[in-house]
């Protein structure tokens, strides 16, 4: 509560309507290279654009670290996984899209962000509150868009980066791009070795000994190729490939001294798209192919689990423009095939077909967008998911936005077909459904920009795994969640420095009582902090071509278990980091020195899993344009 009051004091500054900037120029600064479904359907959405270049993310920081510092989301880290939660939902309610192609595993529905280096993408956009009308299953808490580096700047660029850091981190990357008015081509290769051999205090062993995490090494590599070709005035061709290869040791919690768990995952994602534009019509044909190769072994427990999943998506969209009205209609056909040694039938597939249509009216002061998605799935009924978005400018400095939309998450292949280890899937599962309602305001005053959104999100038929009467774990649609809260963000920008602060209050409660003995009813969900606060301070020193960045984040305590008399919590914690970036005077070299966990705080985001203490990272970028 104290934090909240503090925030109110900071935020409720005397407000003056006379300002230099207008809401349109500030809030829509981006140059759209290529129209996307997101750019077409963002009316009423609460959107965070995390621009890596602006805040100097030159290190190979992982996506999850980046998210936890630069936004108001809680990131849970345990074993090999690192998963963010948005708006009080669970980690499987976040849809990650690369070029609007799903990244989430079709086997378990999760997108693991732990080893996705942030510097390999130049723009991350987060749509809070889900976007299933546009992007389909899995988008309930949020949709994260990661987009590769592309431009038409008429420049060639070569960047070679080398980084070393504490706990055995070493990373190398090469980026090359060539662009003209007609073509934009980029290629990126990256490799990472992180031994993760950090020291921690084992609070589960008598005497609290200092131990070194000796199991948790990661070897990762990725490749990217991106191409956009403007064939002529009317036709454009684009192609992208992204390959990711990870090999890691999976650490256990501190009470388990031995682990031989290993995870290997490899993914290849590719798409080609063709766009044809006439005077008021635009056609886009896109075909994507995705392949995942996954293997988890734990030989001491006789576990050797693998899957190979293939997905092909054919997507055709027509856009019709008429004065201030836009109509889009798209048809998307998805084919999934998965071969899994833990499924009843080793080879399984499913198909779904979706029609997405949207109608947008752009007026001088208001914008309205109606989206309707109807999906037909080969195995289960998918509900109709509509969205209504509305925005209204009060004047040049104030904009109101609102959105009401329905979202859903289909049962995953694991939910349906898994059989192993005393667990069995369930073919009768229904998709989870959710209604999201939100109301937001964007304000500008002089050099301040303020965004605030209140929301209410109801999730029905949530899938949970529970033992049945024969003590076999099985998923059922048996949970109801109501999440509501407020998200605030304040930015201040001057010539010298930038300040960004965010505060989130999330109340997410269980709304279904399983029995008279259920103590979780109407209590906050486990591992969802009530409050989160973040500060980012960027100080520019142009005279020495340098930049200092300070980041601070506070995570409130989280519940770890319910009890009739005293619920258990993990303590809240604060983390800060400091970065110093410097461009050399006579050489095309940028140096970045970063200290993570500046105060050497020991903290847990998941019960009994330790985290690294103070960590030093040094990056050298050789960049020629």
């Amino acid at each position: 509560m104290r934090v909240y009051i503090l925030y109110i004091i900071i935020v409720l500054l005397p407000y003056n309507l006379i300002a230099q900037n207008s809401i349109d120029t500030i809030l829509l600064p981006e140059v759209v290279l290529e129209e996307t479904r997101l750019s077409e359907n963002k009316i009423g959405c609460s959107i965070d654009v995390l621009n890596q270049k602006v805040i100097g993310a030159t290190n190979t920081q992982s996506f999850s670290d980046f998210l936890s510092f630069n936004s108001s989301y809680y990131v849970k880290r345990y074993g090999a996984l690192s998963t963010p939660t948005f708006r009080g939902t669970t980690s499987s309610h976040t849809l990650v899209l690369w070029n609007e192609v799903p990244v989430n595993s079709i086997a378990n529905g999760l997108a693991d962000l732990s080893i996705l280096p942030i510097n390999s993408f130049n723009k991350t956009t987060i749509v809070n509150g889900g976007d299933a009308s546009v992007f389909g299953s899995g988008s309930i808490g949020a949709t994260i868009h990661i987009n590769p580096m592309l431009n038409f700047s008429n420049e060639n660029e070569l960047n070679i980066a080398y980084e070393i850091g504490s706990f055995g981190l070493e990373s190398k990357s090469i980026f090359y791009s060539k662009s003209s008015q007609k073509i934009s081509l980029s290629a990126f290769i990256h490799s990472l070795i992180d031994k993760n051999n950090f020291k921690f205090t084992n609070t589960t062993v008598i005497g609290f000994p200092e131990q070194t995490s000796s199991y948790g090494a990661i070897v990762s590599s990725q490749k990217q190729i991106n191409l956009i070709l403007k064939l002529n005035r009317r036709n454009m061709f684009s192609f992208s490939y992204w390959g990711l290869d990870n090999d890691r040791e999976v650490p256990q919690n501190m009470t388990i001294s031995f682990s031989d768990a290993k995870q290997y995952d490899k993914s290849d994602r590719v798409f080609a798209a063709l766009t044809h534009t006439t005077n008021n019509l635009k056609f886009k044909l896109k075909h994507s192919y995705l392949k995942e190769d996954f293997n988890y072994t734990e030989f001491s427990k006789n576990i050797d689990s693998y899957y190979i999943a293939e997905t092909s998506i054919s997507d055709f969209n027509i856009k019709l423009n008429n004065n201030n009205k836009t109509f889009n209609i798209g048809a998307i056909l998805t084919n999934n095939t998965i071969l899994n040694n833990n499924y009843l039938s080793t080879k399984t597939d499913d198909q779904n077909f979706a029609i997405v249509s949207s109608f947008k009216i752009n007026k001088k002061l208001s914008k309205t967008n109606l989206i309707v998605r109807k999906e037909w799935h080969s195995l289960y009924e998918v509900p109709l998911v509509p969205t209504l978005g509305y925005e209204r400018k009060i004047d040049n400095n104030i904009r109101l936005r609102s959105k009401i939309n329905r979202n859903f998450r289909a049962p995953t292949f694991n939910d349906r077909y898994w059989i192993s280890g005393g667990s069995i899937g369930n073919l009768d599962l229904l998709p989870e459904t959710a209604w999201n309602k939100e109301l937001g305001i964007d304000l500008i005053y002089k050099d301040f920009i303020f965004h605030s959104t209140i929301y209410s999100l109801d999730i029905e038929d949530m899938i949970v795994w529970q033992p049945n009467d024969n003590n076999i774990w099985q998923p059922i649609n048996n949970k109801k969640v109501w999440s509501r809260g407020i998200e605030n963000k304040l930015k201040y920008k001057s010539n010298k420095y930038t300040l960004e602060t965010s505060y989130t209050y999330t109340k997410s409660t269980n709304e279904k009582k399983l029995s008279a003995l259920d103590n979780s009813y109407q209590k906050q969900l486990l591992y969802i902090p009530l409050q989160k606060l973040s500060f980012l301070f960027i100080y520019k020193l142009p005279e020495i071509k340098s930049q200092i960045i300070f980041g601070y984040v506070y995570n409130d305590q989280v519940l770890t278990s319910y009890n009739s008399s005293n619920d258990k919590y993990l303590d809240g914690f604060s983390l800060s980091n400091l970065t110093f970036n410097k461009e050399l005077n006579n050489l095309p070299i940028y140096i970045s020195f970063k200290i993570n966990n500046l105060m050497d705080t020991s903290y847990q985001t998941y019960e009994n899993y330790p985290n690294p203490g103070r960590e030093y990272l040094l990056t050298i970028n050789y960049n020629i344009k």
Binding site: G79, S166, T203, T204, V205, I206, G207, F208, P209, E210, Q211, Q252, N253, M254, T255, I256, S257, S300, K301, L344, S345, T346, I419, S420, G421, G422, I424, Q466, P467, D469, N470, N471, I472, L514, S515, L517, D518, N519, S520, L526, I544, T560, S561, Y562, N563, S564, S565, K568, K582, L584, N585, N586, I591, F593, I595, Y606, E607, N608, Y616, L618
Partner: protein, 377 residues
């Protein structure tokens, strides 16, 4: 350029300074009690941290009148615990952690009291924690891969079933060390001792087995392997020396339609002189478990479909109506009382319920996460 070099130098000095702040903490000392005469002597400790406790200083008899509930905790979270419920109805949760300042570990499977000590089997932490039964003060730990249950088989010897090794690990109770390993079937589960022989039910782990391994306790030799029903999970000895084995049965599904292809029924098997003399078959789809026997060695209790059933060892058929209808995870029996655990959603703290042998609910207690076993003094 000169200026620039100077700045760079300054930065690198700064970096050096900050880096050198990092302490080198190799070869950490392990704090603990290093006095061999203390009841909490820790053989792993390298430095005496002043926590030694002796017979006269230790709290004695704190847990005399009542019983323990083992709570598995959430898999992977390391939050398994022990609850003590005293005869006056007061509940003390987390007794091990509140005494020792550290959690027990991941998946507290079971606990047995042997002599003056409590042997707590922590399955996924691959260890058995030995603590004083009177004070819960930590004494030592024994490393065993995926242990399930521990049973004293002779004066100085205990057997532990290990899923990790598919074996019986032999513990010398004087030194609390593993002295031998006896291979048995797949996924050995319960241990029942009768007439110098240990009967180990091989439940098959997550797969399939249908045997009981018989071990001569004196020599640690396997003397017999008895075929029973599929997935034998628990056994008891009755007043006449017969071994009763409860088998859960096994279901195989069609890979395409998910229809049940083959299903072996659960069964209650009676063994006399290492020969199966009787078998009572359950209905298809029932998966009975957790066989118990009363103090007189005549009435058997088990769990099927979450409800408690009873079976007199002279009855000719299985009872079709439950003694207690509920959705229990595990059950226990002691001194004319039946106990059952309710794990609620298998995430939050569960409940333990106490019944009379006629099935009347006496008390309900909020215990730890996934209560999965009882240990009576």
């Amino acid at each position: 350029m000169k200026k620039c070099i100077k700045k760079l130098l300054t930065i690198s000095i700064l970096i050096g300074l900050i880096s050198s702040c990092q302490k080198d903490r190799s070869n950490p000392e392990i704090g603990g009690c290093t006095d061999i005469n203390a009841i909490n002597y820790d053989s792993l400790a390298t430095i005496n941290d002043g926590t030694c406790l002796y017979e006269d200083t230790a709290i004695v008899g704190l847990y005399d009148n009542g019983y323990f509930v083992t709570n598995e905790g959430n898999f992977g979270s390391g939050n398994g615990s022990i609850t003590f419920i005293s005869d006056d109805g007061s509940v003390a949760n987390n007794v091990y952690e509140s005494t020792n300042g550290v959690p027990l570990g991941d998946v507290v499977q079971s606990m047995s009291i042997i002599g003056e000590d409590a042997y707590i089997v922590v399955n996924n932490s691959n260890k058995i924690v030995v603590a004083s039964k009177d004070s819960m003060i930590h004494i030592t730990e024994i490393s065993i891969s995926q242990p399930r249950y521990i049973s004293q088989v002779s004066d100085n010897k205990a057997y532990v079933t290990s899923w990790g090794n598919n074996s019986i690990e032999v513990i010398d109770l004087t030194t609390n060390t593993v002295t031998n390993s006896i291979p048995c079937g797949v996924g050995p589960e319960s241990i029942t001792v009768n007439n110098g022989l240990a009967y180990v039910t091989n439940v098959g782990g997550w797969g399939l087995d249908n045997t009981v391994t018989v071990i001569d306790v004196a020599s640690d030799n396997v003397v017999n392997t008895i075929n029973v029903g599929d997935k034998p999970n628990s056994a008891q000895v009755d007043a006449s020396g017969n071994i009763w084995v409860l088998c859960g049965g096994y279901t195989e599904y069609d890979p395409v339609t998910w229809a049940v292809v083959s299903q072996t029924q659960g069964s209650l098997v009676k063994i006399s002189n290492d020969v199966v003399v009787d078998s009572y078959t359950f209905n298809t789809g029932d998966s009975p478990k957790n066989l118990l026997i009363d103090d007189y060695g005549t009435m058997l209790y088990y769990l099927s479909g979450g409800s408690v059933f009873s079976f007199n060892n002279t009855a000719s058929t299985l009872d079709s109506t439950a003694l207690i209808s509920d959705s229990f995870y595990r059950i226990g029996y002691n001194d004319n009382k039946i106990y059952g655990t309710d794990a609620v959603d298998y995430t939050q703290a569960g409940y333990s319920k106490e019944y009379s042998t006629s099935g009347v609910l006496v008390n309900t207690y909020n215990v730890g996460i996934i209560p999965g076993g009882y240990c009576f003094n």
